[in-house]
């Protein structure tokens, strides 16, 4: 079968679970025909699709199979090592987002990723990038391989860019987020993001992430207007490029969160659009539920007592056939859901980062007409 014929299984399907299913059908077909190259490539496509357009859990499940298949066909290793390592990189990046995986297991996984970098002749830039991202995102002061975030970042910068490095836009976004989250230096961050904002570099998730990172920074520094200005850009981009339910829930959750402090009706619209049910990725769930909690907290402040919602959780005791919920109750409900994940991550990571950001109270001065907007 030609590649075009395999592509016929999924090329007309939209991104997300549907396309994943199509790629899987093509993969089964290629597997049955023992078309090794097609199998190796389709595994890659599946993981790429699931990583960016779903919650990444299925990638995690399919990757061991992919790795085993790759190793069983050494004659194709040179040609496909790039694909396998990119998938490994995505897997290592998303593994941390599942609270079920302990820190010990994570470090072992990272270690193995580093070993594969050596084995397949890649440098450790992407490995150190994973490390600083991990430590920063989960509030880890150190890890067995690095004393702190700054050291991991320094080690990353010492490694030259190679095939496993991010594309230009990704590298620029990465540096931007380092300045925003670690150094908290807005000027440096804007400098790093210059190419992104001028439109000179872009990729499938940049400038999307960049806008959210700046919004996050402003939100935490109490500048709600600038936070919202950035978040509106991000909302457009996520709606446009990641419409599939269950994809990019972490970022969509952050958008709902920030928007709800400024324009609660737009936040409610966004929430309804992406309300999807629970995915397997704990970080995605945490941020989406935290967004929902902030949304109903702010809706309650407007004096609204009830809200019409169709919850996807019909088996949940909170579900009401009337679809009308008390704002205060639904707020508590989502708080508890976010808290579940916050507790799980904090317990795993030995800190209180997730609980802190869930319980932190935010207060902003908003002009009256904007609030009503």
């Amino acid at each position: 079968m030609s590649y075009e014929e395999y592509e016929g299984f999924f090329c007309d399907l939209d991104n997300g679970r549907e396309r994943c299913r199509g790629i899987k059908r093509a993969l089964n077909e290629a597997s049955e025909k023992q078309d090794v190259e097609a199998v190796l490539y389709l595994y890659y496509l599946f993981i790429e699709e699931d990583t960016f357009y779903s919650d990444g859990f299925e990638s995690f499940l399919i990757f061991p199979e992919y790795l085993k298949y790759f190793e069983a066909h050494p004659e194709f290793n040179d040609e496909y090592k790039y694909n396998v390592m990119w998938c490994f990189k995505w897997i290592a990046g998303s593994a941390e987002e599942f609270w079920q995986i302990s820190l010990g297991q994570l470090f072992e996984l990272y270690k193995q990723y580093g070993e594969y970098c050596d084995k397949l002749n890649y440098n450790k830039r992407s490995y150190y990038r994973k490390l600083w991202n991990l430590m920063d995102s989960f509030g880890l002061r150190s890890c067995p391989f690095c004393a702190n975030v700054e050291q991991a970042h320094r080690l990353m910068m010492h490694c030259p860019i190679d095939e496993l490095s991010e594309v230009k836009a990704g590298e620029a976004d990465d540096l931007t987020s380092y300045y925003l989250y670690v150094e908290k230096d807005l000027d440096k961050a804007y400098k790093a993001a210059e190419q992104i904002f001028s439109g000179r570099v872009a990729c499938n998730v940049v400038p999307h992430y960049t806008y959210v990172n700046f919004a996050d920074y402003y939100f935490e520094h109490k500048d709600i207007e600038k936070a919202v200005k950035n978040i509106r850009m991000a909302v457009h981009l996520f709606n446009r490029d990641f419409p599939a339910p269950g994809s990019m829930m972490k970022y969509k959750g952050k958008c709902i969160s920030i928007l709800s402090f400024y324009d609660v009706s737009s936040a409610l619209k966004l929430f309804r659009r992406h309300l999807y049910g629970e995915c397997t990725n704990g970080v995605d769930n945490y941020y989406f539920y935290r967004g929902a909690y902030h949304l109903f907290l702010n809706l309650e402040k407007t004096g609204q007592k009830t809200v019409r919602l169709i919850l996807p959780f019909r088996d949940d005791p909170v579900y009401k056939k009337s679809n009308v919920y008390q704002v205060s109750k639904i707020k508590e409900y989502f708080y508890e859901k976010a808290k579940f994940f916050a507790d799980k991550f904090d317990e795993r990571d030995g800190n209180e980062k997730f609980s802190y950001y869930l319980n932190k109270s935010y207060k902003f001065e908003i002009p009256q007409d904007e609030e009503e907007h």
Binding site: E18, L61, P64, L67, K68, Q105, G199, R240, P243
Partner: protein, 597 residues
């Protein structure tokens, strides 16, 4: 000690970066020169009262294979302006004027456009005569290494500027450079970039003078037939329909076209988006709402801000406003169709189902209008939202396509409605439909609904049936699956396997463990142990089915055990569940046992 230092700039290198790396293709030098020419004319119309728009023109003379001369009768430049504007990178003669009231007439912003000519030549010659000194003609020659000369010409040209580009590029890395020195190719590029420029653009070649651009006013009302013809000519499609795009705040104007075939959200449609009548981009991703992927458009904008390469727009508040306005215009268009041409609206929704679903998912305002037109896949065939709203009884929906496939035969037999809401946006759309529904109860299917839908078996309490159930429960325990006896149609289905999301996950994890190395195995174990008791899988035996009845009547426990495992694997296969290694083995072993019996 504090000292001020200045960077040293390698001018040749800078020119190389700007001319060879800023732009995506060498073609843009034509656009840059057209822009310079039209901007100079706009400037002269403002500054020189004796000059009228009727006299304005840009001429391009091509000496085949050798030379191109771009000529405009704009303001021209005096010596001071040449030093200031042609020889300082980043300075534009338009800059000073930009803050004035006339700024709207200028396309360029950066003063680096001329450098793009270095992509096709090694030196640029500019002859210019300023309207302020009509008897002085100056010649500026700029080299790619960053040096330039200015001399006074003995022969005068008329007011305006000539840019002369010779085919002398020594670095022929770009093998297509020679192609630019051809009149037809230049005409095609003018046609591509400058079709709607407001001043006439001509080519002069072999003594022939040809006008290349059209007189076209984006802001005026246009005949629909003309618009459709334009769509076919410039976008290459016979569109389903078109409508006018006019910004209420003056940000843009143009025409939107409805594609006659479905496209996916990730497809990249070609548009024609003009900035001050000069083509800026063919990509509409930034200016169109994310859900408008079924639309193609020809738009002109005078107010949006281009990026430095002038090949896209800055993501700023104006762009966001333009997007919103375009969204509202499309919504108004749907509203008008709903009133005047329901048939066309139905056709559009049928073809662009996904896009329309996306519109509904993004906007509450259009729910009432568009929901009735949406088509859903159901156990009663394809039904529109209106059909479902009028159904009048209970309608179940599932957001799991696999579950729909498994259960559809049962619902069909019972003549009950099950809606497949497993595609993108449908979860959100069906919930919206449920919200507005008055006659039909639209309910999400749960495990208890499935259990409830299957009738109690007439064999309940029968000792032989109980025996079968006990044996089945014991055998299926090792597959984390419960057993139950029920009655359902069609009779031909002996057993139905149902599984909730958690149990499905557990199956996937077990499958993954078959290939996992030590590290992945330990992580998968952690996942599995955290799934907990909420994972439920059940095999319903259909006591209406002859095989199951035979099993109830049989006393041969060993034989029954074989059949139970075979029915288990068979129902997995008919539910499209990928088999685990041991399940395939079980099927083969049991078939073999029965053959040997």
């Amino acid at each position: 000690m504090e000292n001020d230092f200045k960077f040293k700039v390698n001018l040749g290198g800078m020119i190389d970066i700007l001319s060879n790396h800023l732009y995506s293709s060498s073609d843009v030098f034509v656009r840059e020169l057209l822009q310079n020419g039209t901007d100079a004319i706009s400037a002269r119309l403002t500054a020189d009262k004796s000059f009228s728009e009727a006299d304005a023109k840009v001429e391009i003379e091509v000496e085949e294979g050798k030379r191109i001369i771009f000529r405009d009768n704009g303001t021209g430049l005096d010596e001071e302006e040449i030093h200031k504007f042609l020889s300082v990178i980043g300075q534009s003669s338009k800059y000073d004027i930009e803050n004035s009231a006339a700024s709207g007439d200028y396309i360029g912003r950066f003063g680096i456009g001329l450098l793009s000519c270095f992509m096709v030549t090694d030196h640029i010659c500019v002859r210019t005569c300023s309207y302020k000194q009509p008897d002085v003609t100056l010649e500026w020659i700029g080299m790619a290494d960053g040096t330039y000369t200015i001399t006074k010409c003995s022969e005068n040209i008329s007011i305006g500027t000539e840019i002369i580009i010779d085919n002398n590029k020594t670095d022929k890395t770009d093998s297509t450079v020679d192609d630019y020195y051809n009149c037809d190719n230049i005409a095609n590029l003018v046609y591509y970039y400058g079709l709607f420029l407001k001043y006439p653009v001509y080519t002069l070649s072999g003594g022939e003078r040809t006008r290349l651009n059209l007189k076209f006013d984006f802001d005026s009302d246009k005949d629909k037939e003309l618009c459709m013809t334009m769509g076919k000519t410039f976008l290459g499609e016979s569109f389903l329909d078109c409508f006018t795009l006019r910004s209420p705040t003056g940000l843009f104007s143009g025409i939107a076209y409805v594609l006659p075939y479905p496209v996916s959200a990730s497809s990249h449609n070609m548009h024609r988006i003009y900035l001050k009548n000069m083509l800026l981009t063919e990509s509409g991703e930034k200016i169109l709402p994310e859900w408008a992927f079924f639309i193609r458009c020809i738009i002109n904008t005078n107010k949006l801000k281009p990026t430095s390469s002038r090949e896209d727009f800055y993501d700023d508040e104006k762009l966001e406003r333009a997007r919103k306005e375009i969204g509202s215009i499309i919504a108004d268009y749907f509203e008008e169709l709903d009133m005047k041409n329901k048939e066309l609206l139905y056709r559009i929704v049928s073809i662009h189902s996904l896009a329309v679903k996306s519109v509904i998912a993004s906007s509450d305002e259009l729910d009432d209008l568009l929901l009735p037109y949406i088509i859903f896949h159901t156990t009663m065939g394809d039904m529109t939202g209106k059909d479902i709203l009028d159904f009048g009884s209970t309608a179940f929906y599932t957001t799991d396509e696999n579950q729909f496939r498994q259960l559809a035969p049962l619902y069909i037999q019972r003549n009950e409605l099950l809606i497949n809401a497993g595609y993108v946006y449908e979860n959100s759309i069906i919930t919206k439909l449920a919200e507005i529904s008055r006659n039909t109860d639209i309910i999400r299917l749960t495990d208890s609904d499935i259990d409830f839908m299957l009738d109690d078996s007439e064999f309940d309490g029968d000792p032989a049936a109980d025996k079968l159930l006990k044996l089945a429960s014991k055998i299926l325990r090792k597959y984390d699956c419960k057993a139950s006896l029920k009655e359902f149609r069609p009779f031909e289905i002996p057993a139905l396997y149902t599984i909730n999301e958690k149990a499905y996950q557990a199956r996937q994890i077990r499958r993954s463990k078959q290939s996992a190395n030590e590290i992945f195995m330990s992580m998968l174990d952690s996942f599995e142990s955290n799934i907990g008791s909420s994972a439920v899988a059940c095999l319903y035996f259909n006591t209406n089915n002859l095989i199951v009845r035979k099993l109830i009547d049989s006393d041969d426990e060993e034989k029954i055990s074989c059949y139970i495992e075979i029915l288990y694997v068979q129902s997995l296969l008919s539910g499209h569940f990928p088999l685990l290694n041991n399940e395939m083995k079980v099927l083969n072993e049991n078939l073999y046992k029965l053959m040997m019996y």
